[in-house]
Symmetry: C2
Subunit: 221 residues, 2 copies
């Protein structure tokens, strides 16, 4: 499908978010906006997710980084269509940046589009990209106090993923406290813990994706 957008969409963040949402819905593409601090493991989680799901779903990725194409290259190496956005110092992705990449995709053929946001636990939370779901990764070495200390991010996301559980023996991180803190800030949020590195807990994340995909498909019927 050819994507046309007028100047307004490219000038106005809210219009662009609505525009993206309409395009995604029309193409029945499920869109997940993945956020975290730098180095929490977004790209590794995406690599493992793609390896596990690519036989079942057509997956594509938008990679957000201040600089370099490193993360995009990691996904492309798995045969996944990936568009890199370099913000050249910008601290978050916005809907206009996403809108500009859409003509590069054959969205009608894509089941799931992951957007890997800039590594930043603050700014990306404020920007609607037109996604269906927002997920935030918090990695074990960051410490479980990050949930109350960065409440805006955790308040606004559908799913919190605790990553790098393989490091639990070596650092202080209280999973139960994290779960309770999230419950206080965002009682409706889903919560799961995994290690993208070892694969431990990945099944729960993959099932979460399958479930939200099935729900989105049903809502289209």
């Amino acid at each position: 499908m050819k994507i046309k957008m007028d100047d307004d969409v490219l000038k106005n963040q809210n219009k662009a978010a609505d525009f993206n949402r309409i395009i995604f819905k029309r193409n029945q593409t499920l869109v997940i906006n993945l956020m975290s601090s730098p180095g929490a493991g977004k790209t590794t989680l995406l690599e493992q997710t793609v390896k596990a799901l690519a036989h079942e779903y057509q997956i594509a990725v938008i990679e957000g980084d201040l600089a370099t194409e490193r993360d995009a290259e990691r996904l492309r190496a798995l045969g996944i269509k990936t568009v890199q956005i370099n913000t050249v110092g910008g601290c978050h992705l916005d809907a206009r940046m996403i809108a500009k990449t859409l003509p590069d995709f054959q969205l009608e053929e894509i089941d799931i589009l992951f957007i890997e946001n800039i590594g930043n636990l603050v700014c990306p939370s404020g920007y609607d990209l037109g996604q269906d779901y927002k997920a935030v990764i918090l990695s074990v070495p960051e410490g479980n106090d990050k949930i109350p200390k960065y409440p805006v991010m955790f308040h606004r996301t559908h799913l919190t993923i605790i990553n790098k559980t393989d490091l639990l023996p070596y650092v202080h991180f209280d999973l139960e406290e994290a779960r309770k803190d999230l419950q206080c800030i965002n009682p409706h949020a889903d919560f799961l813990a995994l290690s993208a590195q070892t694969g431990d807990g990945m099944e729960e994340w993959l099932n979460w994706i399958k479930e939200v995909y099935a729900n989105a498909a049903r809502s289209q019927d």
Copy 2:
């Protein structure tokens, strides 16, 4: 010394930075602006630094967080004068916020003031707080690719500290590559690696502080 500031200082970021700088110089207070991603270990490093240096220097801290007084309480427990700034969602500290805290300190009695910035590897790098030195902490679990991927932060800081070296056996982090990447982006920057948790490498950081303190004192003579 009583600190008076006019409205201009509180309205204009650049004027506030210059104002802070003058106040710090006049009081011979060395100011270090400490930045990093969330959970890289800024507060733990400060706790260990205070324990090692408090018998030799009068130390004070400004703690920046989106929410909570948790970090300030950790420093106060060590008997250190600490002022907490809560940005209520804001992604960085600016010079006006720092200026507003100055009347809370007896700066003429303080040798070293640490400013712990918001956990964010992007936005704080753009804001001059009037500090003498900027230091950035990158923790081992974040991965050494963060230096080329967040170049603005590493380009603008005097010192890069690699923290959590105790986790080197459990995650991929190439110290030599980090050193080379930093050298490319910022040839004049200092570089050191330590574990604030185990104390390994702390001596080099403490010596760095002593050296910049002595240099600042000499330049006042």
